[in-house]
Symmetry: C2
Subunit: 200 residues, 2 copies
Amino acid sequence: MARQGLSKDSVVRAAVCLIEEKGFQQFSMGKLAARLHVKTASLYNHIESLEKLLECIGGEAVRRLVWLENQAIAGKRGEEALFALAEAYRAFAREHCELYRVIMAFPKWNNPALEQEAGEIVTPILKVLSGYGLTEMQQFHWQRVLRAVMGGFAFHEQSGGFAHFPADRDESFRIAVRCVADGLQRAGGGDGEDGKGNFI
Amino acid sequence: MARQGLSKDSVVRAAVCLIEEKGFQQFSMGKLAARLHVKTASLYNHIESLEKLLECIGGEAVRRLVWLENQAIAGKRGEEALFALAEAYRAFAREHCELYRVIMAFPKWNNPALEQEAGEIVTPILKVLSGYGLTEMQQFHWQRVLRAVMGGFAFHEQSGGFAHFPADRDESFRIAVRCVADGLQRAGGGDGEDGKGNFI
DNA sequence: GCCCCTAACTAATACTATTAGTTTTATTGT
DNA sequence: ACAATAAAACTAATAGTATTAGTTAGGGGC
């Protein structure tokens, strides 16, 4: 019936739009099919299952996030890069909160396709950390510390867990990133503070 | 038939058990009803909806977490209390991961009943922070920093996002908490016990 | 022993994802 | 231009989800 040349890619793209518009909670195969003027079963010609579709959506979300992170740290280093990265992460979580939810919703990042994306998540972070004179093992640890802070802050902020105190959340975030920045400084030997002339 | 005197409390308790055993993903009204040897519709004599039930379960989970936190910091102060609190939080997230998932699953922490619990979450944290000589506003900020670190770490660890590097996660966690501890020290005026509220 | 409240039931509705099998359409080869 | 083929979209059906309305029956208070 009036076939419109739907493809896996167009389905994923439509799903991303629908989620950003109506929210992740509201999303369903039926709603997506209706949006594409197609019966629900027809979607299965292009995707294997809802789970796989969500993995594609999550992959797309991660790619966008990583792109913004790389954009943010381009030409920067040291603390400037660190703050820019963190701000970009938080901005994404706020401005694309429904898409960010999809990322968070995965119970396990076991899927091989997602591990690829997972690796790209770490790339800009390691790029920032590379300016601090850390050992490789320290980089592994501090990468986790930074992701914990950024992810934890975004999560709590989104779920409303940070709403119960009359304190500016932007300021809280700055303090958190400052805390990591100082910790990194100390871990790196304390000799690389000016953020521009230092290299390892 | 053969009515067994089910109550809201026993339903919630059974739901908690079922979730801890079979996982949050597997949970459903039907499964819970089967576990209680009752038809699904019968549950609605005791609870209003799945959403309300999950709120009760989340409340129970939070109460248990807060209890463990308070247990952990009892008789301690300063850094010792801080590390004990963080360890207790992470231990709960690991040992009761399915229950922890319920807490994380709330899209919005708006419900008035949950706000009560939310307040109790902060209590042990503020108790720990009270030894650092912070202003009230600083306590509000650092409470968020600490929750972000603990929550973010637990989340990433659970979703497998921290699995991709050959680095000990315990050590990563220690580094993260150490980072916060040092940040607090600095914010409180360099004295972990009786700081006089020096500003940064 | 009777009454009443309500726990538990049956039945039905409206969703959800998913599969099997069928029709229709576009493209490709001759 | 025409037949063959691959696949896009369909219909129909299944099994799962939460939820509501209306009915039956059991236990506690009188």
